[in-house]
Symmetry: C2
Subunit: 320 residues, 2 copies
């Protein structure tokens, strides 16, 4: 089964989430409204809400209740991107100008604060203290991630563990929380929602590694920004860490800086691609995917478990 | 009774809160740690925790439980100041450089995010869904306040209601929430915690009006910044709104801009002070204070109610 099939099965509920997302950020201030809508539009595949819906299926699935965590998790993701772009001084995200570049840092700061606040207000519709504990811990880790990311920029002496910790905070934990919160909000037992958390964590790690690989292998059109942007901005991702193990190539990589032209960068990107770093990175991604599949084997073999299998497989094979 | 007496009675608990505040922001990143400590140091009188403690006295007072909302509310206040300074591009707060001026906007953005996240994580120690609803709504209103404040800058055509809505979001709601959350966390009945919310709201309105008056009447040393800074930065406060009712003075006020030297500003400040605007503003402040006192009359006449009377009176008479 391909992901589009999954989206088709959940079509009605995904459309409802999309509608709720839009209405959640209705604001009296037109500027805030525009900046918030702009943020959500840049959002992409809504995979966090999809994970909330899929995991809620393990319990008492009521879309009128499940919509709250589904919307909240997408809002938290969006808010963190708006602030990330302030911290990264990024001008483009998926081919669109960022809030800070379309407006300014001020607008980005308060738009992010507003969307964060709205998300947490929606979550209070779920009267389960555990849901709030999980969400609060996740947001805390994500906020620490924002900082670590800065600290590690252009730091070529970091190791694999630094990278894995960073993508855990940046991506995997929020996907893990989406899986766990969908389940918790639907009254799923602790044994199961903890497994779903782990499943989400492994899928999230794979998802981010593939994202980092695509920054080398996808086209500018697919990425919405030039290939190699991560390296150019000093984000040391997994392919770069493997490429750094080649002494001669490492010397070239260490000279990369933000004032470099794209023409100067291109030969380095090519060498990284040919170094085997992409394949090694994909191996790590696949190891995480297999761990996710192993978790699914511990769950009852139902249609819902198979949906989780399908979406993980889709994520593991995506090429854009 | 003076406030110092009140602080003396609660001395041990206030010291505990201060210790918990410090340990709440322990972070592995040294930069984040320094920026967070710097933020808390600039904090001032800790009136939000004091209100949490005072109102918790109406119920089952257990400092080991009450410390969570007490610390959380001070952290939320601090985090909002850090982001406010990004939005206002402010370099000084109470005589100290702001995080954004000591470091930069990036550090201020993530330090604020981190402190916000930590606050909400601490609050999850309180297993009462109502507490989370109150807090989430408050943070949402505060975040909307950040934006409205920008919109109204140098807008001399706003009216009293605009100003009152602004200070409600900027100050009064968080003090109101502190009063209500202290009570809710101590298991106080709905009738009482709703009255305590209202009490906090009225006291908070008075508190901010006096703050805005002091910007004209206090010395630079007391303020930690030149007198008249609000006007200079385009913050139209209550004294300015009253002064704008004098046509000739209004013409001069409308010419104020951020590039004006302090020498040029001083005669305008003097005229505002002599226009009766300060007295009229204090009348409004006193009206709010009296409303706060009226609420207290509806509460049982105990020692704890009298503490709330004392702190409101102190706030109403403070001159720094």
């Amino acid at each position: 089964m391909k992901l589009p099939v999954l989206y088709k099965i959940f079509k009605q509920d995904i459309q409802l989430i999309e509608k709720e997302l839009k209405s959640s950020i209705q604001a009296r201030s037109r500027l805030l409204q525009n900046a918030s809508v702009h943020t959500l539009k840049a959002g992409g595949k809504r995979i966090r809400p999809v994970f909330v819906l899929l995991t809620a299926k393990f319990g008492d699935y009521d879309i009128e209740r499940i919509k709250y965590p589904a919307v909240a998790l997408e809002l938290i993701h969006s808010a963190s991107l708006v602030h990330d772009d302030v911290i990264d001084q990024a001008d483009l995200r998926r081919g669109s100008p960022t809030v800070r570049s379309k407006w300014d840092n001020k607008v980005a700061t308060y738009t992010g604060d507003y969307i964060f606040a709205r998300a947490q207000e929606l979550m209070t519709q779920i009267d389960n203290p555990l849901a709030h504990k999980v969400l609060a811990k996740t947001i805390l880790e994500v906020s620490i991630g924002e900082i670590e990311q800065i600290k590690d920029k252009y730091n070529y002496d970091q190791n694999l563990r630094d990278y894995l910790t960073r993508i855990k905070r940046k991506t995997a934990l929020l996907i893990a929380a989406s899986c766990q919160l969908g389940a918790i909000s639907a009254g799923v037992s602790e044994t199961i929602h903890k497994k779903l958390f782990l499943y989400g964590y492994y899928v999230g790690m794979s998802f981010q590694i593939i994202d980092d690989v695509l920054d080398f292998t996808a086209t500018e059109k697919e990425l919405g920004k030039p290939a190699g942007s991560d390296l150019w901005q000093g984000n040391i991702t997994l392919p770069v860490l493997y490429a750094l193990r080649e002494p001669i190539l490492a010397e070239e990589i260490r000279k990369v800086h933000a004032d470099m032209s794209h023409e100067e960068l291109r030969p380095i990107l090519e060498k990284i691609k040919k170094s085997g770093a992409i394949e090694k990175s994909m191996e790590v991604s696949n190891r995480y995917l297999n761990k996710a599949f192993a978790i699914l084997k511990e769950l009852p073999d139902t249609k819902n478990t198979r949906y989780l299998y399908d979406i993980a497989e889709f994520i593991g094979k995506r090429n854009y």
